[in-house]
Amino acid sequence: MTTPIEGREARKKTQPPYLFPGYVSTQKRAPLKPLILLPENSSSLFIPVFGHDSVRATDADLTRQQAGEPLGERIIVSGKVVDDDGHPVRGGLIELWQANAAGRYRHHLDIHGAPLDPNVTGCGRLLTDAQGAYSFVSIKPGAYPWKNHENAWRPAHIHFSLFGAGILSRLVTQMYFPGDPLFARDPIFNSIPDEAARTRLVSTFDWRTTKPEFALGYRFDIVLRGAKSTPMETDHP
């Protein structure tokens, strides 16, 4: 059994630091002064509720938002969102964005020379169901180059933004695809010190959700920090 301090240090390694010099943009943007510690219960208990008015049916199918179908390998991404007690996060908003199959974002600042696909917005959103489950259809995004270092390429990924039980549960992350050869040189992926935590950002191929003659299934489960996250609450007045 680990001591509280060892446990704390181990938990810390499951999240990236602010300053990670290999990811060059952190050098001038990461806070450098120590964070001020606040008691967990001092934060707002407000939980924004996003209804079905913020989510249309087509928002969870990124292949059916335009007149035609996007080019690329169709995928179905499914998973479950739970809090750190394992309880499902119900009705939680998930926002998604990604590049097209050629590795190009539909964004005016993306200057990568790969082609745009008129049938890809790369934008999706959905609400988790009563079991915390979610599923969406898309195409597999391509890898793309960036200027971080010589011959730098980001592994293929889908951006996820999630809401849970308040501000401390807020999570923005990236889901990767299994076996990507670009993992070893990607500073964003490797900023997470703990190997197991890093690996949990890699989705797993899933025969169960793979649909014959249609799409490959990938599974990506997510754990959000709960309203009461730490196991040593009793020490706190």
């Binding site: 990236p16 050098q27 806070p31 707002s44 999706g124 951006h159 999570l171 923005v172 964003i188 959000l224």
Partner: protein, 169 residues
């Protein structure tokens, strides 16, 4: 046994594709009583950060606004708001920073928690200044430097650490 929360990754430069549907249009004010906070977000060289998205959380509301090419943002909050909890996401932040803005020094003074924990010489970074008109405030965020904005961590377990003993209250 607690599960380990999923690791954070940067929001990157193209977040507006996925997040813009909730961007508040601060040129539209729902109520005549609304308060407006404007400001600029700058990096360690004092350069404006044009690809930041800020979320303002209060006891009863949520507002998300991006910075523009000049690093400036503008957000409307409800008339009765005296303090917002704020998350900032941007390229170069592998996880969001968490801070607070008080809409007057008096509001700050009433918040015993922050008053006790934040060093006096840094507390000004959390207080919005009066703007050009009533109900208008200016609050800038500096990611680094001598006057770096105060950013918080919120972990009660850390407060049980002996090293943090002075932070008990």
């Amino acid at each position: 046994m607690k599960l380990i929360p999923t690791a954070s990754q940067t929001v990157g430069p193209f977040f507006s594709i996925g997040l813009a549907h909730l961007h508040q249009d601060s040129t539209k004010i729902d109520s005549a009583d609304a308060q407006t906070i404007t400001g600029i977000v700058v990096d360690g060289d004092g350069q404006p950060i044009p690809d930041c998205v800020l979320e303002f959380w209060t006891a009863s509301s949520f507002a998300r606004v991006p910075t523009c090419v000049d690093g400036k943002y503008s957000v409307n909050v409800e008339a009765e708001t005296t303090m917002c909890e704020v998350l900032l996401f941007m390229r170069g932040l592998l996880k969001p920073v968490y801070t607070r803005v008080y809409l007057s020094a008096a509001a700050k003074a009433r918040d015993a928690i922050t008053s006790k924990l934040v060093p006096q010489d840094r507390i000004g970074t959390l207080i919005a200044q009066p703007g050009i008109a009533a109900k208008r405030f200016v609050w800038n965020v500096k990611m680094q430097g001598g006057d770096e904005t105060v950013f918080f961590d919120c972990r009660s377990s850390l407060l049980t650490n002996d090293a943090a003993g002075s932070l008990r209250f």
